[in-house]
C-alpha cells in the first residue's frame, strides 16, 4: 500500500482529539506500508506522517483556545450589534407614535388658542377649561419625552460599577479590532503598563468607548500603519492611550470632533455621534477624553479615568441625549 494513499484514507475528522488520533493512525499505516517497501517508501511515509500531524496539530490546539475566546468575542459583538439594531428599530416605533402625538400637540395648542378667545356659558370661569387643556398638553409632552428617550434607549443604561482589570479590558477590545486591522496591514502595538491593576468602572460602557477609539484609529490609518494601545495608572488616575499613524486632525476640527453630528466622513459612513457619545460616557464614568493631533502626524486619544470610579452622583445621572432636536436649548 502506498503510504500517501494511507494518508488519503484518513477522513477529515471534526473534533481535535479524533483528528490527532486519525493523524497518528494514518502515520502508522504509512510507516507500516513503508516497512514493506524499503527506504524509499520510508521517506515518503515519514513525509506523509509529518503531513498528517502538520494538519492535525495546529487545528487541534487552535480549536480548544479558539472556541472559548471566540465565544466571548461573539457575545460582545452580538451585544453591540443588538444595540445598534435596537436604535434603528426604536426610531421606527418612535415615528409611529410621534406622528399622531404631533397632531394631538397641535390640536391642543389650537384648543388653547380658541379657549382663550371664547366665552363659555356653562362654565363659571375658563380657568378649569384651560387647566384641562394644559393637562393634555403636559401629557403630550410626557409621551414625547418617552419616545424621544426611546431613540437613545440603547445608550441610556445606568453605569454599573465593577472591578475591572484594565489591561484585560483593553486587550479584549484590541483583539476585536486586530483581526480587521490585520487585513489592512495595520499593526497594533501594545504598551500596557500597570495592565494587571484593576479599576472601578462600568466595563461595558468603557469597552464601548475603547472599541470606538480603536475603530476610529484603524479607520484613520486606512492602510499600512500602526496603532498603539497603551495603559497606565498614575496615582488615582488611569489612562488608556490610543495612538494612530493616520493623517491627523486639522486644528480647526480639533475643537469640534466631540460635537454631535460632526463628521469628516462622507454621508452614510459615519453618524458623527461616536465621539460625542464617547465623551458623554466618559463623563458618566467620571472621566474625560483628551486628544492631541497635528495634521499628518496622526492622533493621540487619551481616556482619563478615576481609579476609584465616578462619584455615585454622576453614576446615576443620565445626561441629556446627544442628538435630539433640542440642541438650541
Amino acid at each position: 500500500m502506498n503510504p500517501l494513499r494511507a494518508l488519503a484514507f484518513a477522513p477529515p475528522p471534526k473534533a481535535s482529539l479524533p483528528r490527532l488520533g486519525v493523524a497518528a493512525l494514518a502515520s502508522g499505516l504509512a510507516l507500516a506500508a513503508a516497512g514493506l517497501d524499503g527506504p524509499l517508501a520510508l521517506a515518503s511515509a515519514l513525509g506523509a506522517a509529518g503531513a498528517a500531524f502538520a494538519v492535525a496539530l495546529p487545528r487541534a490546539d487552535a480549536g480548544a483556545a479558539h472556541g472559548r475566546e471566540a465565544r466571548d468575542m461573539d457575545d460582545l459583538l452580538i451585544h453591540s450589534q443588538k444595540m445598534s439594531v435596537l436604535g434603528e428599530l426604536s426610531s421606527g416605533i418612535a415615528h409611529e407614535i410621534n406622528t399622531p402625538l404631533g397632531i394631538i400637540g397641535q390640536e391642543t395648542e389650537l384648543l388653547q388658542l380658541i379657549a382663550s378667545r371664547s366665552e363659555f356659558s356653562s362654565l363659571d370661569s375658563s380657568a378649569e377649561l384651560l387647566e384641562r387643556i394644559d393637562q393634555i398638553s403636559i401629557q403630550v409632552e410626557r409621551c414625547g419625552e418617552i419616545t424621544h428617550q426611546l431613540l437613545d434607549f440603547a445608550r441610556k443604561t445606568k453605569a454599573v460599577l465593577q472591578t475591572v482589570n484594565l489591561g484585560e479590558l483593553v486587550e479584549d477590545m484590541t483583539r476585536l479590532v486586530e483581526r480587521e486591522a490585520g487585513y489592512q496591514n495595520i499593526t497594533i502595538t501594545r504598551r500596557y503598563r500597570d495592565g494587571k491593576r484593576t479599576i472601578s468602572t462600568d466595563p461595558s460602557l468603557l469597552r464601548q468607548v475603547v472599541l470606538n477609539l480603536l475603530q476610529n484609529a484603524v479607520q484613520a490609518v486606512e492602510r499600512d500603519g500602526m496603532v498603539t494601545v497603551g495603559t497606565r495608572i498614575s496615582g488615582q488616575q488611569a489612562e488608556i492611550e490610543v495612538t494612530d499613524t493616520g493623517c491627523g486632525i486639522q486644528p480647526e476640527n480639533l475643537q469640534r470632533i466631540f460635537d454631535p453630528f460632526f463628521t469628516t466622513k462622507p454621508p452614510g459612513q459615519g453618524t458623527g455621534l461616536g465621539l460625542s457619545i464617547c465623551m458623554k460616557i466618559m463623563h458618566r464614568l467620571g472621566g474625560h477624553i483628551r486628544v492631541r493631533s497635528s495634521p499628518g502626524q496622526g492622533a493621540v486619544f487619551t481616556l482619563l479615568l478615576p481609579v476609584a470610579g465616578p462619584e455615585s452622583a454622576n453614576t446615576h445621572d443620565n445626561p441629556p441625549s446627544a442628538y435630539q432636536g433640542d440642541r438650541h436649548e
Partner: protein, 550 residues
C-alpha cells in the same frame, strides 16, 4: 477581505503540510543516499582489499615456492654434483617440467665465479664477486632481486640461495622472467580503467601496467613506508579519482598495487541516486498535489463551518434582537399608554363640556369640536401602535398556542400598511372565513410573515399589488399565500433564496439571512415554505403549516 482570510489560511495549510512533509522527505532521501554511498564504498573497499590480499599471497607464495625449490636443490645435492653442468642441466630440466618459471640457473662458488651454468645465455665466465645480490645472498642465505635488464636484455629478476658446506659457501642462482608476474597480477585488472602492478620500494614499476607506465620506470604513486596488511584509499591519478589498494609483499620490499575506477564500480550507486532523485521528485509532486487538495478541502470545511456559525449567530442575533425589541416595545407601550389615557380623558371631559354649549352662542364652536375629534382620533391611532407593540413584545419563548392565522396576517399587514401606502402598493387580502386555528408559535410565525411581506414590498418597490390569502388544503394543512406582482425571480435565484447569505439586494441593504431564517423557523414549526416565481410574473410564497404542531 473574507476571501483573503481564507486564502491566507489555505497558504498556511499548504505551507505547513509541505514543510512538514518535504523536510523529512529530503532528510530521508539524503540519509538513504548517504547510506547507500557508504555501503557501496565499503563494499568496493572490501572487495579491493580482499583482492589485494589474495594477490599478495599468490605473489608471495610464488616467490616462496621458487626460493624453496632452489633451496631444496642446493641442499639435497652435493656441491660437486651441482658443479657438474650436465647434472645441473638435468636438475634444471626437472624443475622446468612442473613450471617453466626459471629462465636459467647458475651454480656459483664463494669467489663469485660461475661453476656451472645452464640456460640460453653465455654467462659461464661471468664473475659475480662484486654484485650486490651476491654479497647479500652470502650474507643472508637467500636473496630476491628487483627486476632489472642486466646482461640478458629483458626484464627479469634473480632468486639466489646459499649453502655453507665444510667452510665453503655455495650459491645457487636462478633467473625468473618478470612476465610471470604480469600474468599473475594482470588477472585482477578490472573494467576499462582498472590496473594492477608491482612496484619496488623506490616506486619503480616491476611489472607491466596498463596505464601507469612501462616496466622499470618510476611510477607517480603516493610513497608508502612499509606497513602491515592492506590499505585502500582514494587517490587522484591523472586527474581521475581512483580507488587504490596496496600492500607490501612478505618476501621482498615490493608493493602490490591495484587501481579501480570508482565510476565503473559505483555505477550501481549512480543508478540508485537517480532513482532516489526521481522518487523524491514524484514525492514532491504528490505531496504538493496532496497539500493543495487537502488545503482546499480543509478551507472549504472551515468556510462551511464559519458559514454555519454565521447562520447560528444571525439567528441568535435575530432572536435576541426580537426579544430585546419586545421588551423595549412593551416598556414604551406601557409608559406611553398612561399619558395617552389621560389625554383621552381630558378630551372626553372637554367634549362633555362642549355638549353644554350651543354652537350658536360659542365662538369657534366648530373648530373646537373638530380639534377634540382630532385629538381623540389620534390618541386612538397612537394607542393602536402601542397595542401592537405590546402584542409584538409580549412573549418571545416558543409557544404552542392556538393561532388564528387570519388575525395574525391582518395584524402583520397593519405593520406594513403605512409603508405600502407610501409606496403606492395595494395589499389585498383574501382570507378564508372558516380557517381552522393552528397550534403553533404566533410570534415566530408573525416574524416570518412580516419578513416575507417585507420582501414582497421590496420586490414590488413602487406602484403594485400584493395579495395575501389563507386557505386549507385537502390534507387539512393551513396555507398562507403571499403573492406580489414584482419582477419575479429567475430559476437561478429561486434555487438559492433559502440559502444563508444569498441576497439580490445591494451591499448593506440585506444580509440575505431573512429567508433562510424564515425557512428554519417554519421548519421548526413543522411546516414548509414553498415559492413559485418566474421573471416578469411576480412571486408567490406559500407557508404551509400542519394544524397540530409536530
Amino acid at each position: 477581505m473574507v476571501d483573503k482570510k481564507y486564502s491566507v489560511l489555505r497558504w498556511k495549510i499548504i505551507g505547513g503540510t509541505m514543510a512538514f512533509s518535504l523536510i523529512p522527505l529530503f532528510a530521508i532521501g539524503l540519509f538513504v543516499y548517504n547510506d547507500f554511498q557508504t555501503a557501496y564504498y565499503t563494499k568496493i573497499t572490501k572487495n579491493l582489499s580482499t583482492m589485494v590480499g589474495d594477490k599478495q599471497q599468490a605473489v608471495d607464495m610464488f616467490l616462496n615456492e621458487r626460493t624453496a625449490q632452489l633451496r631444496t636443490m642446493l641442499y639435497s645435492h652435493s656441491p660437486e654434483n651441482l658443479a657438474d653442468k650436465t647434472y645441473l642441466q638435468k636438475l634444471f630440466n626437472a624443475t622446468q617440467t612442473s613450471a617453466q618459471s626459471f629462465v636459467d640457473m647458475g651454480f656459483i662458488n664463494q669467489s663469485g665465479a660461475h661453476v656451472a651454468y645452464v640456460g640460453p645465455f653465455a654467462l659461464g665466465e661471468v664473475n659475480y664477486k662484486d654484485a650486490d645480490w651476491f654479497q647479500k645472498t652470502l650474507h643472508k642465505g637467500h636473496f630476491i632481486s628487483d627486476v632489472f635488464m642486466g646482461f640478458r636484455r629483458f626484464p627479469h629478476f634473480i632468486i639466489a640461495v646459499s649453502r655453507n658446506v665444510n667452510g665453503k659457501t655455495w650459491v645457487l642462482r636462478a633467473t625468473v622472467d618478470s612476465d610471470v608476474f604480469d600474468s599473475l597480477v594482470q588477472a585482477v585488472q578490472v573494467g576499462r580503467r582498472g590496473d594492477a602492478f608491482l612496484v619496488n620500494h623506490n616506486n619503480i614499476m616491476q611489472t607491466h601496467s596498463r596505464f601507469q607506465g612501462p616496466i622499470l620506470e618510476p611510477v607517480s604513486l603516493p610513497n608508502h613506508r612499509s606497513f602491515k596488511g592492506v590499505r585502500v584509499e582514494q587517490t587522484d591519478i591523472a586527474g581521475r579519482k581512483m580507488f587504490l589498494g596496496t600492500t607490501w609483499l612478505d618476501s621482498l620490499r615490493w608493493r602490490l598495487v591495484i587501481l579501480e575506477d570508482p565510476s565503473e564500480e559505483l555505477s550501481a550507486l549512480w543508478r540508485t541516486t537517480w532513482l532516489l532523485a526521481g522518487a523524491c521528485l514524484v514525492g514532491i509532486l504528490v505531496i504538493t498535489l496532496g497539500a493543495v487538495v487537502m488545503a482546499q478541502a480543509i478551507v472549504r470545511k472551515v468556510m462551511l463551518a464559519d458559514r454555519e456559525k454565521a447562520v447560528l449567530d444571525a439567528s441568535l442575533m435575530q432572536s435576541s434582537k426580537m426579544a430585546a425589541l419586545g421588551k423595549l416595545a412593551a416598556g414604551v407601550a406601557h409608559e406611553v399608554n398612561n399619558p395617552l389615557t389621560l389625554i383621552r380623558e381630558g378630551a372626553g371631559w372637554l367634549k362633555d363640556m362642549l355638549d353644554d354649549e350651543s354652537p350658536e352662542t360659542m365662538k369657534n364652536y366648530e373648530e373646537f369640536a373638530r380639534s377634540l375629534d382630532m385629538i381623540e382620533l389620534h390618541v386612538d391611532r397612537a394607542r393602536e401602535v402601542t397595542h401592537r407593540m405590546l402584542g409584538f413584545g409580549r412573549r418571545m419563548e416558543p409557544l404552542h398556542e392556538n393561532v388564528d392565522l387570519n388575525v395574525l396576517a391582518e395584524q402583520t399587514i397593519r405593520f406594513l400598511r403605512q409603508e405600502a401606502l407610501h409606496r403606492n402598493i395595494h395589499i389585498d387580502t383574501g382570507l378564508s372565513p372558516d380557517l381552522p386555528r393552528v397550534t403553533t408559535d404566533g410570534n415566530q410565525l408573525q416574524q416570518v410573515i412580516l419578513n416575507i411581506l417585507d420582501n414582497a414590498l421590496d420586490a414590488v418597490n413602487q406602484d403594485g399589488q400584493i395579495w395575501v390569502s389563507t386557505a386549507t388544503d385537502e390534507c387539512g394543512d393551513v396555507l398562507l399565500t403571499i403573492r406580489d406582482d414584482g419582477p419575479g425571480m429567475s430559476t437561478e435565484t429561486l434555487n438559492h433564496i433559502f440559502e444563508p447569505f444569498y441576497t439580490t439586494k445591494s451591499v448593506g441593504e440585506g444580509t440575505g439571512l431573512g429567508l433562510s431564517i424564515c425557512f428554519s423557523i417554519i421548519e421548526k414549526l413543522g411546516g414548509r415554505i414553498e415559492v413559485q416565481s418566474a421573471p416578469g410574473e411576480g412571486s408567490t410564497f406559500t407557508i404551509r403549516l400542519p394544524r397540530q404542531q409536530a
